[in-house]
Amino acid sequence: MKLDARIPDGPIDTKWERHCFELKLINPANKRKFRVIVVGTGLAGASAAASLAELGYQVDAFCFQDSPRRAHSIAAQGGINAAKNYQGDGDSIYRLFYDTVKGGDFRAREANVYRLAQVSVNIIDQCVAQGVPFAREYGGYLDNRSFGGAQVSRTFYARGQTGQQLLLGAYQALARQVGNKKVRMHRRCEMLDLVLVDGHAKGIITRDLITGEISRHAADAVILATGGYGNAFFLSTNAKGCNVTAAYRAYKKGAAFANPCYTQIHPTCIPVAGDHQSKLTLMSESLRNDGRIWVPKQKGDRRAAGDIPAQDRDYYLERKYPSFGNLAPRDIASRAAKEVCDEGRGVGPRGLGVYLDFAESIQRLGSHVIEERYGNLFEMYNRITGEDPYASPMRIFPAVHYTMGGLWVDYNLMSNLPGLFVLGEANFSDHGANRLGASALMQGLADGYFVVPYTIGHYLAGQRPAAVSTEHAEFARAEEETRQRISTFLSLKGSRTADSFHRELGAVLWDHCGMSRSASGLKEALRRIPALRQEFWENLRVPGSGADLNQSLEKAGRVADFMEFAELLCHDALTREESCGGHFREEYQTSEGEAQRDDANFTHVSAWEFKGLESPPEEHREPLIFENVPLAVRSYK
């Protein structure tokens, strides 16, 4: 396997423009001869599918939900970053670039991040033109808020429903092209395998979730925009359907998987309430603009929050990180919460929680202002916990939220498999070892609206259109394997459900590969996961048949892939013998307990090649070179 990032030469601020000029073009009349498959209709997939269709390509788009509008992006709350500098507070493309590289703990590719910051401004323009109702000031101009890891206000938002509004914008653009017959929309249709012909991605195998029909789809290129793999942990803030299947199937077909151990644990989620818990709910990071985080100073202080006087409270983020305070980046805020809970100072029935307190802001601004800013989040908190956050502080605890790792891609967002492009959370490209808040929406839309529409043409220009049909033997083989797998699931007739295996797998990952990791814990996980997987394949029970809607069967397929993928995740975590961003290895910390990077040995991307389940994956390294932001210890003190 050869990894060539194809980073253009020249100064960082002109790379993208020059590169666009040098990319091959396809004339408008020829574009319609090419067909592109887009798997996923979240921000990344919907924006790509719509934009490619507008350019004239024929597009087939796929999602497993009943409508493209329900992709997980819909749930994003807080906002989207862009270097508009509307507040005149010193923001710039360079500063957004700098913050993202630093926030990612120097484990992202500079050139990609710079381009992201550049196109961020176009995204806001595009979305406003689509009718996205961003928050505005009384003068009628766009409003901004602050997010973690930044000292400027560059986050655009639509109350606590920014993802919804951005996705509806992209969905509507996509719907327009479906109506124009430029996009064929395949709903409730799950990709179960990738088809390679002569090493190039030329199609996929899908299952229609209503009829159970297995189909072959051929195209000139395949785009995966299938989201992140946070649900490997079972409990996460992701929607229930989020999964790693599409990316993992591509990995098994030879696509490199980069930095799987970079997972983000979000500091502000509603704590677990009981064993029935099916998912965790995020309370947007934007709340940290007005909420103060604290725990009692004394271990085991069981007084109600309101009865604990100021001198007995420890506002630990403000104390430890005075210049960023409650807006310290996510990895740092999460670890700090774990630390105080480990010390026995956690709050709530299980002791796994910290307070997020709005009392002062309510006093300063009035509750109507807080309601206008966060009303829907406060309601959601109240519905889930039965407590009123206007009256007493919220209880929050970290939860798995986002995955920085993903399929390896070059500067063109193409994987090492020619013709396979990967966008959005599914790729690894821009956030290094830690993503800053409000940057995932930015990246998904950058990839889909402003990057892949250019770069895919360069690949397609070298291809003969419609060169491959679904009659090719590779399609038959992939289809047969998919059918086999489904009939195996149905034939096992064991005594445990896919959900129960998933819960157990999630607990192993959370305990050993969660907020902090150690060689011994990871080795333990690597011992337990294969054993659990073996039990899965012996003792799984999938009721019903493959010939109609069967949610247990869908679940089994996803859990089966998580079972294999979890091992890759732990393997990567074990190999990366340093702490960086969301990856915290207990062995590598400073005397003050801060993450300790090892730049001499680990300033690289680890991209893994599948070598069969019985052998460890093979590591390929892409060195990371920092020419613009000098490698430095990341400090938020």
């Binding site: 009718g131 109702p133 519905r383 529409p453 459900t497």
Partner: protein
């Protein structure tokens, strides 16, 4: 607490379907409604029965995937709340709960509690957008938009497309859904250009899908988990009529 559930079971579109009863001996008030169904499904699977099919994804009240008629009310007893955000503390020990799918001609049942809502997508495809290609947008702050208009647009844009409005309406009308989209886009200067054409296209697509006409009883507003106001319907009618007038004048 102990509950008795009566759940609509239907093997497929051709099956007649029936209510089936289940005992739930140990429900925690902290569970969400769907978590209670998860527990039941785990049990049914191990007992060799097929679990109950229902749609869900985000479980945060935003994707619009979930939707059950609970004791005769779309999304259940708590106002402004999706099924997934309904928690069992809204019920009490000994309660009986009837659980059914959305019922509407334009939403045929696929299986158990799962219905087909593609008709909603087709209505949006007919005109529920602003026609702007990627890359052709002007600088965002070139046009100021009154805060009131932006806020109003947001109120309508908050629709999650769940279909509760249709399920609650005797005529299975989709006026609130369509009105919300028409009003969202018509409230913004960017959306004014196509406002009339959009209203007419969406209304005729809505009719073609088999959604009924408005009963003026506003059941839709009462069950909308996002509290979208029926003013959306009036606004849509206005846009529709205005477009008709302009057309007859020209």
């Amino acid at each position: 607490m102990r509950l008795k559930l009566h759940v609509w079971r239907q093997r497929g579109p051709a099956d007649a379907g029936q209510m089936v009863s289940y005992d739930m001996p140990d429900v925690s008030p902290d569970m969400s409604f769907l978590e209670m169904l998860d527990v039941l499904n785990e049990r049914l699977t191990l007992e060799g029965e097929e679990p109950i099919a229902f749609d869900h994804d985000c479980r945060e009240g935003i994707c619009g995937a979930c939707g059950l008629v609970i004791n005769g009310i779309a999304h259940g007893p708590t106002r402004g709340t999706t099924t997934c955000q309904l928690h069992m503390r809204s019920f009490k020990d000994g309660d009986e709960i009837w659980i059914e799918p959305w019922r509407a001609r334009a939403f045929p049942v696929i299986k158990d509690l799962v219905v087909d809502r593609k008709s909603f997508d087709r209505v949006i495809e007919s005109g529920g957008f602003i026609s702007v290609n990627t890359g052709s947008a002007p600088e965002a702050n070139i046009l100021s938009v009154a805060k009131d208009s932006a806020d109003q647009a947001f109120e309508y844009a908050a629709c999650i497309g769940c279909g509760a409005c249709v399920a609650a309406c005797k005529n299975a009308s989709a006026m609130l859904f369509v009105g919300a989209k028409v009003s969202h886009l018509a409230s913004l200067p960017q959306g004014r250009v196509e406002a009339g054409r959009r209203a007419r296209a969406m209304v005729s697509a809505m009719d073609a899908e088999g959604f009924g006409s408005c009963t003026n009883q506003f059941e839709c507003e009462a069950v909308c988990p996002k509290d979208i106001s029926v003013r959306a319907i009036a606004k849509m009618n206005r846009e529709y009529l205005r477009a008709g007038l302009l057309e007859s004048e020209s």
